[in-house]
Amino acid sequence: MRTGLAQQRRIGAAGYGLSVVVILALWQYGSSQAIIPLLFPSPIRTCRVAMRLLNEGRLAIDVVASLRRIAFGFMIGSSAGIVLGVLMGSFRPVRIVFDPYVQFFRALPALAWIPAAMVWLGTGEESKIALLIYTTVFVVALNTMIGVAGVHTNQLRAALCFGCSDWQAFYMVKAPATVPFMVTGMRLAMGNCFSTIVAAELLAPKDGVGYLIFSARTWMQTEYAFVGIVILGLLGLIIDRAFMLVMRRALRRFLPR
């Protein structure tokens, strides 16, 4: 049975690799058929440009700039969001007071705030980080709130049987039970951060992955855009996997299965 599973995994990995190769081959073929090869670069050209940018150090600058902004915005936003969500989920008056704002700002995408942020805070780091905080807070707060309010009734009843005070019920039962919801909220928020930072960097092009994509149009080098897109995909994948890895390590027992 064990060899069967290992074999299956090997086949799975091989199949995965095969499909990646086929997709790249299709891309190469598709780009070679493009009417204007300038507009649709092949994977090889994209790679070459990426290498050049890497060697020039340009790529590192852009990636680090974007990541730094996301890191700040995400962490501040998540912390604030968790606190807000816990308060809203625990105290009905708090929820009623903040609910209309959370709902409205959730419907108003961070991108709509970009011009306002640039007018108020300039085109530097502050405006971008502020936007990232905005895009993170409400998603995390909403998910956290739902987690706190949705703890299984029987878990709380059992806690009452054992004589838990309100505060004990909170930190011994509700808080741990809410962790998976917080994590979900944070994952969604990270996705939001990616799209927000790209848009912000497209509008105030100075540095960052968004700027890299933007420069494709300036220099008529579509490769830059493709490099940027590939970087985004890779970064997103790596960050998401790393995030889940860390979460599962540190908080494995809190996450379902």
């Binding site: 009843r157 054992f162 027992r253």
Partner: protein, 274 residues
């Protein structure tokens, strides 16, 4: 492995009697679920509450546990009026979703002691002892997600026992298990409750289970506005055999009584529809 190992340090009242006195219960403006329901359970007795589905058995338990309050009448446990949930009456639920998924089996069982502020070492000792009692030794480090249904219910039982509460309230705890596991757990439950002299209020819809486990069986009327129809003492010596003649006779008698109830309920529904 006697009761001493799991004695609660806070000296909870040892009296474990339950008294339900003329209880009426209704949700808001809805018709009463229970009406003028009364029964008593003596300290150390194993009382089974039996009834057709939807008759309000779980509501009775919620009232005794203190999760709900009667609209009329009163509930007494251990000589005192029941107001809120308490350590003297521990509930074991049918769904094991009351276990905490982020805690190991041992930490789940030790949870009530943690609430009390017992030191970590003593918590562990008592938890392990309780786990041994229910036959889960060796599984202390597992998480509820890794356990089978029967093991999860055993964990609930261990958790309930660790506080040495005089009263155990069990709401159809074995209903979701397969027949073999159910049968094994039934036998073990009897052994434990007899050895530790607990008062047990056990809810079920399974007649065979009722006769196997109970010192007395209270048969409930079909809902709504349910009350106790009759109480039947089970005077079979323990250990009881499911196949014995006396068992069969009791089974027939109780089955008859419940069928009458179900028929009455159906007729009443028909007359309402007309």
């Amino acid at each position: 492995m006697g009761p001493e190992a799991t004695r609660a340090p806070d000296g909870a009242a040892r009296a474990g009697n339950i008294g339900v006195r003329h209880v009426t219960f209704a949700f808001g403006g809805a018709p009463a679920v229970l009406e003028d329901l009364s029964f008593d359970v003596a300290s150390g007795e194993f009382f089974v509450l039996l009834g057709p589905s939807g008759c309000g058995k779980s509501t009775v338990m919620n009232l005794i546990a203190g999760f709900e309050h009667p609209t009329k009448g009163s509930v007494i446990a251990g000589g005192r009026n029941v107001d809120v949930a308490g350590r003297d009456r521990v509930v074991i639920f049918q769904d094991s979703d009351s276990l905490y998924g982020w805690l190991t089996v041992r930490d789940n069982v030790a949870f009530p002691l943690r609430v009390l502020g017992v030191t970590a070492r003593e918590r562990d000792e008592r938890a392990v002892a309780a786990l041994k009692l229910v036959g889960l030794q060796g599984h202390e480090g597992k998480y509820p997600a890794e356990l089978s249904g029967g093991m999860k219910q055993r964990t609930q039982l261990a958790r309930a026992l660790v506080l040495d509460s005089p009263i155990l309230l069990m709401d159809e705890p074995f209903a979701a298990l397969d027949a073999q596991t159910r049968s094994i757990l039934q036998d073990e439950l009897v052994q434990i409750s007899v050895a530790m002299r607990r008062t047990v209020l056990f809810i079920t819809h399974d007649i065979g289970e009722a006769i196997l486990l109970g010192d007395r069986v209270g048969i409930m009327r079909a809902g709504p506005a349910s009350s106790i129809k009759e109480t039947i003492p089970i005077e079979l010596p323990r250990p009881r055999r499911r196949g014995s003649v006396e068992f069969g006779a009791l089974y027939e008698r109780i089955h008859q009584s419940i069928s009458e109830e179900v028929q009455r309920a159906l007729r009443r529904e028909d007359s309402l529809l007309k």
